[in-house]
Amino acid sequence: MTTLSNHVPDPRLITAYSEHREGPLHRVNPWTKVGVVGALVLAVTVVESLPVLAGLYAATLVVYGIAGLPYRRLGYWYTLPLLFVVSVAGPLAFLEPGVPIGGALTTPIGELSVTWAGASLFGELTCRSLTVVTFALTATMTTRYADIAYLLGRLLPRPIDQVALLTYRFTFVMIETLEDLVKGVLARGASLSEFWANRRIYARILGMTLLTAIERSERLVKSMEARGYDGDITLYGDVPRPPAREVVAVVACYAGIVAYTLVVAYQVIPV
């Protein structure tokens, strides 16, 4: 049966965790979390050692746990990131030159084997991807809705910030609309278990979702203009600057990564 996926993170659940839970990460300044995400992206890009990458991944998993977030859900949410890793690194694991693991399998197109280098590459790409995925989810699940809206408003140029703020606000509405439409067709006896036989029902569900979105946007225009919208959705919240100790921690992260890049990755500074 087709339903909304449990292996795609549900923004409503994520927002519920950020609004109704209280863990150590909830008290960290949102700007600090943005800084750490940037540092992790840089780190997984420049680090080429599997043990270091595995260590980074383990550290983010520990942080996720300390924040009091659910590991089982995380397992479901890994499905898509892992699919992308497999789709790129899977073929590479077989093609990468090197010593085969446990011999080669003879096929009509030649010998097929996973090499140690291929397996290592697979492990590296998995750790790189999951490290940032885990921390991004940790950050969104521990940052309040109003704070995320404030960050979007400050980080993005106009009119992208306006579009992003409306998207954030209406994502929850549109998911509920889609869910209601799916429930509606199932209640009327439709089966969505096969795509091709039900292609018109799928088209109707998706079309109705878009139509609802467009009609809602038309009503929204009237209310925005009635309130004197002049290209700026006013945000009343405020995210203060991070405290000194958090700034020092983020700066230390970046300094460590730059040092690693110069000394180990690119060997610009010989040791």
């Binding site: 087709t2 339903t3 795609v8 549900d10 992206v41 840089l42 890009t45 080429e48 898509l80 990131p81 992308f84 789709s87 790129v88 690194a89 073929p91 590479l92 093609l95 030159p97 590459l121 590296e124 790409l125 790189r128 940032v132 991004a136 989810l137 969104t140 995320i148 993005l156 140029p157 009119p159 992208i160 306006q162 579009v163 992003a164 409306l166 954030y168 606000r169 994502t171 509405v173 549109m174 509920e176 889609l178 278990s193 292609r199 799928y202 088209a203 998706l206 979702t209 878009l210 139509l211 609802t212 979105a213 467009i214 009609e215 809602r216 946007s217 038309e218 929204l220 925005m224 290209g231």
Partner: protein
């Protein structure tokens, strides 16, 4: 998936800088064009809620090959146009990356891929309508073309960048990526057909949305509610 979000850290640093620069240049050009032309309130609202709908639709599991997810970027391009379509692609990528789907560092590359889908689909749809094609084949073909362009661009980006930590020559990498692109082209056809049906449905209830009649002549709402 009808478009691929490349994994975080897949590319070397120079490639990350290159695709981010190109992505920023594309978005900068779009923002410049929009600001120069003067953006209307209804365009902001349409882009915002259109992105929300695209993001919501991704939550639906389509039972093909064990389950695929679609953002309908081709359809978004057809409905919102190339400029707003590119902005919607960026915003959907930002929200996807924040939820762990897609790469924060590859927002530039992913935006290039998705924006190309929306832009190609829009111009293909307009061209086919001018050639007197019916709504369904025009919508299906335009979306398939747009998504195929995105899939090929995605493959090209991977081959040009190389994979971080891989010693594979570009020729062998091209072979490895060809399978991925082929799979995406297959999904593009499925999403294209679905888009054709959706466009046909929308044309039957709100022909102004797909440019079949002047938007100002269709003032009555279809009264759609959830």
């Amino acid at each position: 998936m009808a478009h691929i979000h490349l994994g975080e850290g897949s590319f070397p640093l120079w490639a990350l800088v290159l695709w981010t620069t190109l992505g920023v240049a594309l978005v900068g050009a779009v923002v410049y064009r929009i600001r120069k032309g003067g953006i209307k309130t209804h365009q902001i609202a349409l882009a915002g809620i259109g992105a929300a709908a695209s993001f919501a639709i991704f939550q639906l599991n389509i039972p093909v090959w064990g389950g695929i997810h679609m953002n309908l970027t081709g359809l978004v391009g057809i409905l919102a146009g190339p400029l707003l379509g590119a902005l919607i692609a960026l915003v959907v990528n930002i929200f996807s990356a924040a939820l762990g789907h897609g790469a924060v560092g590859l927002l530039g590359a992913n935006t290039l891929v998705n924006a190309s889908e929306a832009i190609v689909a829009y111009y293909a749809f307009r061209t086919l309508l001018r050639m007197d094609w019916d709504i369904f084949p025009a919508g299906a073909s335009a979306a398939t073309l747009g998504l195929s362009a995105g899939a090929i661009l995605m493959g090209a980006i991977i081959v040009i960048s190389g994979v971080n930590g891989s010693a594979l020559p570009r020729g062998d990498l091209t072979i490895a990526v060809a399978g991925l692109v082929g799979l995406n082209l297959g999904v593009a056809v499925i999403e294209g057909i679905l888009t054709g049906f959706v466009v046909q449905f929308l044309a039957s209830v709100r022909p102004d949305l797909v440019g079949l009649v002047d938007r100002t002549t269709s003032e009555e709402s279809a009264g759609v509610t959830a």
